[in-house]
Structure formats: structure tokens, C-alpha cells
């Protein structure tokens, strides 16, 4: 089996999520765990790693931001169309090992996508986890993702949505204006029997980790999902290496103490 060979799948749904993101539902029926990703190909343009934002045996959902060549080309996908994929790849969040714990989920921008996979998983195994606290930060009300799901999450979990600014006074789903770190700072978090999952821009993750540590979280209670340039997704091309660990096979979810200062390594 050629490990670089993508396979064709069908797009079951195309949903516009925000002005520059969309969510594809794909008939990929392979087992996956929250935090894993797939390599999506657009022949002639290239491949891009996209994290899975669902938890199902009968499909995968990919929330994609139009930011590079491949993702801009994918934005032209249509329901019923074909998509080339290999994977799923990587190690996701250690959901099994963290059963019985409180979970704090901190996401920034399109970093909320892999956490949505975690939330779906939690919904399917709700009794196995204690308090769930979600901190989701966006730059503006327009960029808020998974608006449909937000109402459900608000009912079931402790949910804080922040937006950096709301210049036009748009409807913003009860989001507070300010950085996500301000919401974390103001919240009462019990580090005992807890773990925190983070995914977002490096600066936001670094600041959030500092706050979590101030609140008594140890580095081995913090799990981050790293974003890196990658080509092979198999652990050989080396572009995604962080201190000798491959984001594609050893990650993309790492326990924070395993990779240290991930912002420049």
C-alpha cells in the first residue's frame, strides 16, 4: 500500500460557517479520535492537513478556513462532489485516560474546530466526564463558528465566548468583548482532577497556559494541539518536527511538558 496515495470520498454536505470558513461532511467511515486530522488533496494544488471536528462512525466533518491555496480551492467544493483524502492521522486528545475528570477547553478562532470534535465525543460519553468548561475566543462576531451548536453547548456546559471587538454592534451570541484570556482569568477553575485542552494561535495558547499555571494547573494537565507545516503526515518529511517529536505522528495533540516552548521550536 502506497502511504502517500489519497482516496476519493463523497462530500455529503457543504455548510458555510463564517465569512472565511466552511464545514464539509464527508462519507469517510474510518475510526478516528478527537484531535486527529486528515490530509486533504486538491489535485494540481496540493495537500493540507485538516483536523476532524466531529465524532462519528459514519462520516467526518472538516471545518476549513480559506487561508492557503488548498483551502481556497476546497471552498469551491459542492455537495455530492469528490474529495481526495488520506488518513486519519496522528494522536488525538487522551479521552480515555481523562475519564472522571473536569475538562477545560480553550479554543481560539479556527482552533475551535478540533475542540468541537472533543465536544461531540463528550456528548456521546457524557457520564464519563465531570464539569466541562468551554472558553472560545474569536476576533469578531462574524467569525464565531458552530453557531447552531452554540445554543446546545450553552445549555449543557459552562460556556464563555469572547470576541476581541464588536465594532458594528452585531449580534454576537452572548459573547463578551475582550480576549479569551480575560474570561479564563475571571473564571473559577479547580485544577484538582482537571485537564485543559488548548487549540489556537500560538500567542493565545502561550498566554492561556501561563494563566492556567497561575491557577494551579501543572504542565502535565495541559494538552495542546499544535499546528505545523507538514507534507507526508507519516513521520518522515520532518517539516512538522517540534523538538524531535513529529506533530503528524506523535501529535498533533501533545502534553505540554513533552514539547516545552513550542512557539519557536
Amino acid at each position: 500500500m502506497n502511504p502517500y496515495l489519497p482516496q476519493p470520498y463523497t462530500i455529503l454536505e457543504f455548510r458555510r460557517e463564517s465569512p472565511d470558513t466552511f464545514t464539509l461532511t464527508i462519507d469517510l467511515k474510518k475510526r478516528h479520535s478527537p484531535g486527529q486530522f486528515v490530509q486533504v488533496s486538491v489535485p494540481g494544488i496540493g495537500e493540507a492537513p485538516i483536523s476532524i471536528c466531529s465524532d462519528s462512525r459514519s462520516y467526518v466533518k472538516l471545518n476549513i478556513r480559506e487561508i492557503g491555496n488548498v483551502t481556497r480551492a476546497l471552498a469551491k467544493s459542492k455537495k455530492g462532489g469528490k474529495i481526495w483524502i488520506r488518513g486519519p492521522y496522528g494522536k488525538g486528545y487522551p479521552m480515555k485516560a481523562l475519564e472522571g475528570k473536569n475538562l477545560v477547553l480553550i479554543g481560539g478562532g479556527c482552533g475551535v474546530a478540533p475542540l468541537k470534535g472533543v465536544i461531540d465525543y463528550i456528548e456521546h460519553h457524557r457520564s464519563k466526564y465531570r464539569d466541562i468548561h468551554l472558553f472560545l475566543g474569536y476576533r469578531s462576531p462574524e467569525e464565531i463558528l458552530f453557531k447552531k451548536e452554540l445554543r446546545e453547548w450553552k445549555k449543557n456546559y459552562r460556556l464563555e465566548v469572547t470576541i476581541d471587538q464588536n465594532q458594528h454592534g452585531a449580534f454576537c451570541y452572548d459573547a463578551k468583548v475582550g480576549f479569551v484570556t480575560e474570561a479564563i482569568n475571571a473564571a473559577v477553575l479547580d485544577p484538582h482532577k482537571s485537564a485543559a485542552f488548548l487549540c489556537g494561535p500560538p500567542v493565545m495558547m502561550k498566554a492561556s497556559i501561563d494563566l492556567l499555571k497561575q491557577k494551579g494547573f501543572q504542565e502535565d494537565q495541559i494538552f495542546i494541539s499544535a499546528e505545523r507545516l507538514m507534507y507526508c503526515a507519516l513521520g518522515v518529511c520532518c517539516h512538522c518536527m517540534i523538538r524531535g517529536k513529529f506533530t503528524c505522528v506523535d501529535g498533533p495533540v501533545f502534553r505540554y511538558d513533552e514539547i516545552g516552548a513550542f512557539t519557536h521550536d
Binding site: 502506497n2 502511504p3 502517500y4 496515495l5 489519497p6 489535485p43 494540481g44 494544488i45 496540493g46 495537500e47 493540507a48 478556513r65 487561508i67 492557503g68 483551502t71 481526495w84 494561535p201 500560538p202 499546528e227 505545523r228 507545516l229 507534507y231 507526508c232 507519516l234 513521520g235 518522515v236 518529511c237 520532518c238 517539516h239 518536527m241 523538538r243 524531535g244 512557539t263 519557536h264 521550536d265
Partner: protein, 320 residues
């Protein structure tokens, strides 16, 4: 381990016979010494090590992985070509083994096909061929089909595999069994790296000293016999934008684009972070995964550097 003796004057005869059913690739002196397919045994140049390693024969600088036409992806696996590599120094042989470790892990069919059909004949350096050599400071492995030790009038030939034994068996009139002892495999003048464990040096300020002279040209990684990083890109024809090929090419961790993600964020933006990453991958990270350092001590990255950044000297001078 069995040792044979081959008269120096009969080397040409052996190579000529090997050329009958295989492409023989050996160091040849052109603009610089390179591994090239030879047409005559006299082209073989053993005075200096090749400026370029042999890695391009297993892991080409550019290689097509697939052809696509809008409906399917068709793998383009290279046809195995019977090749004999002659004159590989110990560092280059070890480098091939280390690249094997990296590509074996993912069962890379492109690399595997090129490697499988190659016979490796080594040439033991009588002394360090370059002032930058430091293979003696790193673990040495015995990895060859045949190894040639240069003696006054002849070669002592050690067999290292069944494939190597077979060559000897096929040419009994050229190889004479000998009971001479195996020569010392230590290469004089090749043990200039004095730091065994670089892990404690991670936060040392002197990485900047080396990086300050770096022009980010990527010569070090291109000439390294072990560097195996690559990128994958698609190309399409202008006539039919649905058809094209997906290829991989060497890439260099010394260039800022190596860690650039969509949205233009670069993780290893500073030269010292990139320089340190290269040396740590070579001496530390690969060892954590595979038990051996990736670097083989050939010194090419230093010799080829336009500003001669000597990381061995730099490491030796770093005080913890």
C-alpha cells in the same frame, strides 16, 4: 567475517566485469568529485571523498510520486535498476543505513525500490580525507556488501553480506582468501568532536555565534548524506489543468519557509533556532527515535558552507 586479497592492478578487471550487468557508480573527478555512472574503470577517483554524497541515487532531489488526470492518482514507482556503488566511505555507508531507518519506518515504496537493487562496496579511508571529518567521534557501524582496505599493492576485501560473498564467489580468480588480520577500522585524524551529549547545550547562548554567519543558503542540508527532509508539490500542464503530477523534492530546515504555515506564521523564524534545530536533529532527536545519531561525521556541511560555520568547533567550545 572473511578477508580476501585483490591485486590493485586487477581492480579494473573486477569493475569491468561488474559493469557487464550493472551500472557501476563511483567517485569521478569532474568540476568536483561526484558519484557518477562510469564508462571505464580508470575514471574511479579514490584520493578524495566525493563532494556530493550518493543519496540522490536513492532519494532524488526531485521525484514524481503520482500522476493524476482528474479521475485517479497513479503511483509512479521507479524501475529498479541494478546498480553497484563502488568507493563509498564508511561515513557514506552509515549515512545510507540511517536514511534506510527513516524511510523504512513509513515503508516508502519509492526509496525502497531504489535501495533494494543496490550493491554497496566501501572504501576504507586510509586517513581522514578532509580536515572537517569527525566520523571517529560518532558510533561506527559495519554496513556494506564489500569493504576495500587500501594496502600497498593490493586491497584487503572484507565481505559484509551474502550479496558481497556472491561477488567473491563469482570471480574466484580475482579474490584470494587470506588469513591476514582485519586492519584497524579507526581512521586517523577523524575524531575532532569532543562533545558526546549535546542535550544540556540547548539553551546555550553560543548557537547565535554560528547562526550569525549563516546566509540561509541550504548548502549544508543539500550536501548532507543523511538529511532526508522533503516537501511535496503538485504541477499541472497548461493544456489540461486536471492532469499533472505530484512530486517530492529535498527541502532545507535552514530556510525560513520550512516551518511556514498558512497565514504566514513561521515557527523557526530566527537563524539560531534553525541552526540549532539542524544540529539537534542530527545529533540528538534521531538518536531518541532510532538509537543512533543521524550525523555520520563526513564534514560536508562544514566544507560546503560559504562562511565555514564549523558546528563541531562551536560545540567543542560551548561550556556548560
Amino acid at each position: 567475517m572473511v578477508l580476501y586479497r585483490l591485486e590493485k592492478k586487477r581492480l579494473g578487471e573486477l569493475i569491468g566485469r561488474l559493469m557487464l550487468d550493472a551500472e557501476v557508480i563511483a567517485p569521478v573527478k569532474k568540476d568536483v568529485v561526484r558519484f557518477l555512472p562510469i564508462a571505464h574503470p580508470e575514471e574511479i577517483h579514490l584520493e578524495r571523498n566525493a563532494f556530493f554524497p550518493a543519496k540522490e541515487y536513492f532519494f532524488p532531489q526531485h521525484q514524481t510520486l503520482f500522476q493524476f488526470d482528474g479521475k485517479s492518482f497513479a503511483p509512479v514507482i521507479p524501475k529498479p535498476k541494478k546498480r553497484v556503488f563502488f568507493g563509498l566511505r564508511r561515513c557514506d555507508l552509515t549515512a545510507i543505513r540511517h536514511q534506510d531507518l527513516a524511510f523504512e519506518e513509513v515503508k516508502d515504496p519509492y526509496y525502497e525500490t531504489m535501495r533494494k537493487s543496490a550493491l554497496l562496496i566501501g572504501y576504507h579511508c586510509p586517513k581522514a580525507p578532509s580536515p572537517y571529518c569527525f566520523c571517529g567521534s560518532l558510533p561506527q557501524i559495519e554496513f556494506f556488501d564489500l569493504m576495500f582496505f587500501d594496502q600497498q599493492t593490493g586491497f584487503l576485501v572484507e565481505t559484509g553480506s551474502e550479496k558481497g560473498e556472491q561477488i567473491v564467489r563469482e570471480h574466484p580468480e580475482l579474490f584470494a582468501l587470506t588469513d591476514l588480520p582485519k586492519p584497524d577500522t579507526k581512521i586517523p585524524g577523524a575524531d575532532r568532536l569532543h562533545v558526546e551529549n549535546i542535550a544540556p547545550l540547548y539553551d546555550h547562548p553560543d548557537w547565535k555565534k554560528g547562526a550569525d554567519q549563516c546566509l540561509s543558503c541550504g548548502a549544508c542540508t543539500a550536501l548532507c548524506p543523511t538529511c532526508y527532509c522533503f516537501e511535496i508539490h503538485d504541477e499541472v500542464s497548461t493544456a489540461n489543468p486536471d492532469a499533472g503530477k505530484r512530486s517530492r523534492s529535498w527541502s532545507s530546515c535552514q530556510l525560513p519557509g520550512f516551518t511556514r504555515v498558512a497565514g504566514d506564521h513561521v515557527f523557526r523564524k530566527e537563524r539560531d533556532h534553525r541552526f540549532k534545530h539542524r544540529i539537534f536533529h542530527q545529533l540528538e532527536y534521531f538518536k531518541e527515535k532510532h538509537g543512533v545519531p543521524l550525523c555520520v561525521g563526513c564534514g560536508r556541511c562544514i566544507e560546503a558552507c560559504p562562511t565555514r560555520i564549523d558546528f563541531v568547533k562551536l560545540l567543542n567550545e560551548m561550556k556548560t
